[in-house]
Amino acid sequence: MTRTPNIVTGTIGDDIHSFGIKVIEHALDNAGFKVFPLGIQVAQEDFIRAAIEADASAILVSSMSGHARLLCEGFRARCIEAGLDDIVLYVGGTLSTGDMTWEEIEPLFRGMGFTRAFPPTSLPGEIVEALRQDLLAVSEE
């Protein structure tokens, strides 16, 4: 990694839970990333537009409202459409509605093209570390 990676963050769709993503933004900032926080209720298109504008290496999508599944469908396809083929795409939060287990949830979101999915127990430190590795992997490709 030669330059400080730019990271776009926000909560998706109808979601107004901001504590989680704010905590992550704070950690990323401390870890030397450049964060572009889009705030709450961000549409897929807006994430992608902001990522292009910021020449971002990753998009971090937070979803706690219970609508993650409905709202994240097609995100990767839209990225590819927009030319962001390799962009690192994370999703995290309370991703289930109903009684799905994490073992069921994770493959669902990876299947949708997310690089990683994070449960609500994930700590900011873990997230920063994972991001470092994934960005390194991308830059080495």
Binding site: G13, D14, I16, S18, F19, K22, V23, H26, G39, I40, Q41, S65, G66, H67, R69, L70, T94, S96, T97, G98, D99, P120, T121, L123, P124
Partner: protein, 487 residues
């Protein structure tokens, strides 16, 4: 025409209603006279205003939680379980995020899919789509008062359908919605929409169908847990009560969320009641019934169900020690995901038992020295904010509130809306009470500021490092893992 805190006149109201009812097809089902007649025919045990009065006289609590299922059938099953197994005193329907943003057409398909596949894809009950007929069925099938809420920029149509269907409670969420639930809407827009719902409640009430209204609150315990001391919320509740009274609301509920220090939490209930009473009187409102409700602690809950159960029951304790009539209960699977109906019912039952255990009708907890000190400080703070708001509004609380956010006189440390200054910041002191780490632009005198500073210093002394944003995050993590305050 800007917002003013005066009753919307009937002609204008009827005109506004036409537009609202025309915005989606089920609006056509609403006939306000029929709605009033329907309400008046309800047995009293389904009317929240009556039930609240009984609760006050009988020294008990009406417990409830928020429930929103994707279909009418599952909403009924859920509420029936809370009623029968949980002993709920109020059955509150929380509507989903699509309803809150008016995406009713889109919802038709999702509801159809949910009904077909028995799925639960929504985060609330799509109340509007089910229309008056559907909602009346719900009210009739249940045996307790039904209420509606869903913090949204515009919930006018939902309010219309709810009241016409026999719901006897509405919630004014003006300030919470502005601070937390939108990043673009203006306060004026939100306030106008809620003013409409308040007027609707007043209209029913004036015609013999009493609607209980939970008045607006400022930066609340659940929206800014551990980061906004209670005076901000209390100031908002006083403004909320004035707004409701102006539109003819006569049965009010003030809701306080908890922060985690029992003296501060109970003190806040009493300050809220005292100040609302005082300002209602100052504005010439008479004959208003004010009831108190306490909510759980906001913020993340422990993943461990037993620890969470204990935390959930704190609401019952605060309610009991505050002599409140209502108690809003989270569930012990709060951290796990959308709670099941059994777990909601169990949590309710536990909290009601706790309320009974802690309820000692003559326990004068408010006269414990710590409670008294908290009351004094909070009262001074809230009063300073309210007076400044009134000053900014030339005596009009709503006009004042509109300006107050611009100047940071009303504020929320973790607002999602960039129109809110977010210049204040709170943190817990060594006793778990929330104090101002930064008073931003709040109109506080030096003594108040020094009080908060001293209290935070005590905690810093114990932690051996300055209190900061990291302290807040660490405190949240501490609770989620079954501790109380971060060391």
């Amino acid at each position: 025409m800007g917002i003013e805190n005066i009753k919307i006149d009937d002609d204008r109201f009827m005109q506004m209603r036409k537009a609202v009812l025309g915005s989606y097809k089920t609006g056509a089902e609403v006939d306000i006279e029929d709605g009033i007649a329907y309400q008046k025919a309800l047995p009293t045990h389904k009317v929240l205003a009556h039930e609240l009065k009984n609760a006050r006289e009988g020294n008990y609590t009406l417990g409830h939680n928020l429930t929103g299922q994707s279909t009418a059938q599952s909403q009924f099953e859920f509420l029936e379980c809370l009623q029968n197994d949980g002993g709920a005193g109020l059955l509150q329907c929380l509507y989903d995020s699509y309803t809150r943003t008016g995406r009713f057409e889109h919802l038709e398909n999702v509801i159809a899919q949910c009904e077909r596949e028995g799925k639960n894809l929504l985060n609330g009950f799509p109340l509007v789509n089910y229309g008056v007929a559907g909602n009346r069925k719900l009210v009739e099938a249940l045996d307790r008062p039904v209420g509606a809420l869903g913090p949204a920029v515009d919930s006018r149509l939902a309010s219309e359908i709810a009241l016409a269907s026999g719901y006897t409670q509405l919630v004014d969420n003006t300030y919470i919605v502005f601070e937390t639930y939108t990043k673009s809407a203006t306060l004026e827009e939100i306030m106008g929409n809620f003013q409409y719902s308040l007027r609707l409640a007043g209209y029913y009430t004036e015609r013999g169908a009493p609607i209980a209204v939970t008045v607006a609150t400022g930066a609340a315990g659940d929206n800014a847990p551990g980061v906004a001391p209670p005076s901000l919320g209390t100031a908002g509740r006083v403004l909320g009560a004035l707004a409701a009274a102006a539109q003819g609301v006569r049965h009010m509920i003030a809701v306080n969320w908890s922060f985690g220090n029992i003296a501060q939490d109970v003190a806040s209930s009493f300050v809220t009641q005292k100040l609302i009473g005082e300002y209602l009187e100052r504005f010439g409102h008479e004959g208003i019934e004010l009831y108190m409700e306490n909510g759980c602690l906001g913020g993340p809950y422990p993943y461990d169900w037993d620890q969470a159960f204990a935390e959930v029951m704190y609401a019952g304790i605060v309610s009991a020690l505050s002599n409140s009539q209502m108690c809003q209960v989270k569930t012990f699977d709060e951290a796990t995901g959308i709670p099941t109906m059994q777990n909601q019912a169990r949590s309710l039952k536990g909290a009601r038992m706790m309320y009974r255990i802690m309820r000692t009708p003559d326990l004068d907890f408010r006269n414990a020295p710590d409670t008294r000190r908290e009351m004094e400080m909070e009262e001074r703070e809230a009063r300073a904010i309210i007076e400044k708001v009134l000053e900014l509004g030339d005596g009009d609380p709503l006009k004042g509130a509109l300006k107050a956010y611009e100047f940071g006189i009303m504020d929320n440390p973790v607002a999602n809306n960039p129109r809110v200054k977010s210049a204040v910041m709170g943190v817990k002191d060594a006793t778990g009470a929330v104090r101002y780490l930064d008073t931003g632009n709040l109109p506080f005198d030096e003594e108040i500021k020094a009080f908060h500073r001293d209290r935070i210093r005590q905690r810093e002394g114990r932690m051996n490092r300055p209190a900061s944003y990291d302290t807040i995050v660490a405190d949240m993590r501490a609770i989620a893992s079954g501790d109380w305050l971060a060391a």
